[in-house]
């Protein structure tokens, strides 16, 4: 699924350049569940952004399937994000003015579906994550766990091949964390997704098939 070759990312700061990723080479096969761990500032989120076509490398390549992401124009990257990649964020990142169903529908807007198709698919996605009764609720009317479920429904409603989750349980209590992880694992298994989770939480990481450790921009396999 993913092929990373000598991936390097440097950021220019007032105190000089900072190397977030340093010649990372990595292969992630389709359908694998991967956990990425490491200290804060180690490059985890940067790696996830490279995988999610949100960021371009300073050097090296990222290949998704047979498409080389680092050389693509922004419009094509947006299209890949719209169709192939789903995101789940630590802060849920729901739009506060939209209802749960409308938030899920935002992921379908770039696909050019009809209004009725969009509504039906959003409703089905929310029912799948157990929020069939909360379609018209705004984020402020939902608990943290419920908001993350809406975010997961939004990520999965377009039936992506990859699901990237950045600290998906970072803002949740233990019980809710376990519920969310069970949900993600179930969807990963049922949908045949490639699931890549960035986490500080070892309990979450232990659920993954493969664990990577990122420190000072370099990645190592963790057993």
């Amino acid at each position: 699924m993913y092929e990373l070759s000598d991936l390097t990312k440097k950021y220019e700061t007032k105190r000089g350049p900072i190397s977030a990723l340093n010649k990372v080479s990595l292969s992630i096969p389709t359908g694998q569940m991967v956990a990425i761990q490491g200290p804060t500032g180690g490059g985890k989120s940067t790696l996830l952004q490279m995988l999610g076509a949100l960021e371009r490398p300073t050097s090296g390549t990222v290949t998704l399937g047979d498409e080389e992401l680092s050389a693509m124009p922004d419009s094509r990257l947006a299209e890949i994000r719209a169709r192939t990649i789903g995101f789940v964020f630590q802060g849920f990142n729901l739009i506060p003015t939209l209802t749960a169903q409308e938030n899920v529908e935002t992921a379908l807007a770039p696909l050019g579906l009809s209004n009725s198709d969009r509504r039906l698919r959003a409703r089905a996605a929310l029912e799948k994550v157990g929020l069939g009764e909360r379609l018209t609720h705004h984020p402020s009317e939902l608990s943290g766990g419920q908001q993350q479920r809406v975010a997961i429904a939004r990520a999965l409603v377009k039936e992506p091949k990859v699901l990237l989750a950045d600290e998906p349980t970072g803002n949740l209590d233990e019980q809710t964390r376990d519920e969310i992880m069970e949900l993600l694992e179930g969807l990963w298994r049922d949908e045949g997704l490639t699931l890549i989770i960035v986490t500080h939480d070892s309990a979450v990481a232990k659920r993954a098939e493969r664990r990577l450790h990122l420190k000072h921009g370099s990645v190592t396999e963790k057993k």
């Binding site: 952004q49 947006a78 995101f87 964020f89 003015t97 529908e105 807007a109 770039p110």
Partner: protein
């Protein structure tokens, strides 16, 4: 999705929407009212000008007075001079009754050759033209002490008491006389489509006919006819000749008066005033409004000594509180509109861009899940446009209410406009050679002075301008907000709020 998202944003961010819409509404309403008042003032000026120059006149040709004394064309006429011989008038009981009238173009006014009309009519882009001769009639009538005869046989005024009678109306050698002045306009009886009579309507009697050429017939302004107790069929002395009143007219505008007290055939006026082939104004109608400037230039070239003015030039001749209102609208109103509009646009732009900054994570997330730059920009611009449109609708409503309030209040503006520079009269007193002379100078103008209630016309143009400004405001704010949103890179947007 676009509509749903837009509706949710605007309805959930009511405060921002209300501030932007209110600012825009205030600006739009102000622009509407200022534009409306300007249109109302223009209409009022047109009414005043039409009362002087007639309806449909695009250009007038006059001649500025030149230094007197040369006796050449264009030289201002001197005032009328009344001279009575020793045997004039009827003497009874030591009192001599005298009466005389004079028709002149008056002090300060000037006439010029009627060939200017031919020149105007020869131009291709001139649809119609007519000439007039503005005159002033001064009538003197009264009683003075009859002259007495001295031992030498010469006449000496005021010595009647010594010679068996003091004379004069008071029996003590004094004098009493009336001086009546009214304006007379000589017009072409052929009935051209331009000229002073296009802005009047017949009240009684009949209008001029071709057969009235060189006839002693007169049409009176109804106000003058009323104050002079004249009706159709009566006679009026003009320039020492008797004229038959054939009709009375009034201004077609309820607000304005007519340009002249009396109207007589042009050739009659020229004959009686001894101004053969002379005119004072040519009224020109261009073939189309786009030809006016070219016709003005051509006329000025053909008639270098003449003063060729368009309606726009003539608007500056309107004076009084209407002119003050025009100045106020033109300067203060326009600048106020620009300032308020600029402030509204600025507020709209600032709130929109700050809104984008506040929604960085939101737009970053949308881009992360596949929204294109264009879709995000469309969303931001759409929200701004709708906010502008709400402001526009509210602004139009407030503007219409403001216009309605002004129209109900109908502030009265006074205005006057002079048709010619000055048409004068000259009445004086003096003596010599056994006669009496009267030369007390005064001036009159063939002018329309009137009080006009300001009425603001509500036109689609004014509403169109308001809506266009609202859309423009929304577009500008949307463009700035969209530009800012488009510059957001999703990774940076997400990182900046992490």
């Amino acid at each position: 999705m676009f509509g749903t998202y837009l509706y949710r944003e605007l309805s959930n961010r009511r405060k921002q929407t209300a501030i932007i819409a209110a600012g825009m509404a205030l600006a739009i309403a102000l622009v509407m009212i200022v534009n409306g008042v300007a249109a109302g003032v223009r209409d009022a000026q047109a009414t005043v000008l039409a009362s002087v120059y007639g309806v449909g006149t695009d250009i007038t040709i006059t001649q500025e007075p030149i230094q007197p004394g040369g006796g050449e064309e264009g030289a201002p006429q001197e005032g009328p001079r009344f001279e009575f011989g020793a045997e004039d008038g009827e003497t009874a009981n030591g009192t001599r009754a005298l009466s005389q009238s004079s028709l002149t173009s008056g002090i300060g006014s000037s006439t010029f050759d009627a060939d200017a009309l031919t020149t105007a009519l020869s131009l291709d882009s001139v649809a119609a033209a007519t000439a007039t001769l503005a005159l002033s009639n001064v009538s003197f009538s009264g009683e003075v002490a009859a002259p007495t005869t001295t031992d030498t046989g010469e006449t000496a005024p005021g010595e009647g008491a010594q010679q068996g009678g003091r004379g004069g109306p008071d029996g003590a050698g004094g004098s009493a006389f009336n001086v009546d002045t009214f304006t007379v306009t000589g017009i072409d009886v052929a009935g051209e489509s331009v000229g002073p009579l296009t802005s009047v309507e017949l009240v009684d009697g009949r209008a001029f006919e071709s057969s009235d050429s060189d006839a002693n017939v007169v049409i009176l302004d109804t106000s003058y006819a009323t104050t002079s107790s004249l009706t159709v069929g009566d006679s009026l002395e003009i320039g020492g000749e008797e004229f038959e009143v054939i009709g009375t007219v009034t201004s077609t505008s309820a607000d304005a008066t007519t340009a002249s007290n009396t109207y007589i055939p042009l050739d009659t006026a020229q004959r009686v005033a001894d101004l053969e082939n002379q005119i004072s104004t040519v009224y020109v109608q261009a073939a189309s409004s786009t030809d006016i400037a070219a016709v003005q230039t051509a006329l000025q070239t053909e008639l270098p000594d003449a003063s060729v003015k368009t309606q726009e030039d003539l608007a500056s001749s309107v004076s009084g509180s209407l002119a003050t209102a025009s100045d106020l609208v033109g300067k203060l109103g326009t600048w106020l509109s620009i300032i308020v509009l600029a402030a509204a646009f600025l507020i709209s732009v600032l709130l929109t861009t700050s809104g984008v900054a506040r929604r960085t994570r939101e737009f970053g997330t949308l881009k992360a899940i596949g929204w294109s730059n264009g879709a995000v920009v469309r969303q931001v611009a759409g929200e701004s446009l709708v906010q502008g449109a709400i402001g526009g609708v509210v602004g139009v409503a407030i503007g219409l209410l403001g216009i309605l309030a002004i129209n109900i209040a109908a502030p009265v503006l006074s205005a006057s406009a002079a048709a010619t520079a000055v048409a004068g009269q000259g009445v004086g007193a003096g003596g010599g050679g056994g006669g009496n002379r009267f030369g007390d100078a005064a001036t009159t103008t063939a002018a329309a002075t009137t009080d006009i209630a300001l009425q603001i016309p509500v036109t689609f143009g004014i509403i169109g301008i308001a809506v266009a400004l609202a859309i423009l405001g929304g577009l500008i704010a949307g463009a700035f907000g969209g530009w800012r949103a488009a510059r957001l890179r999703p990774a940076e947007a997400l990182r900046s709020v992490a």
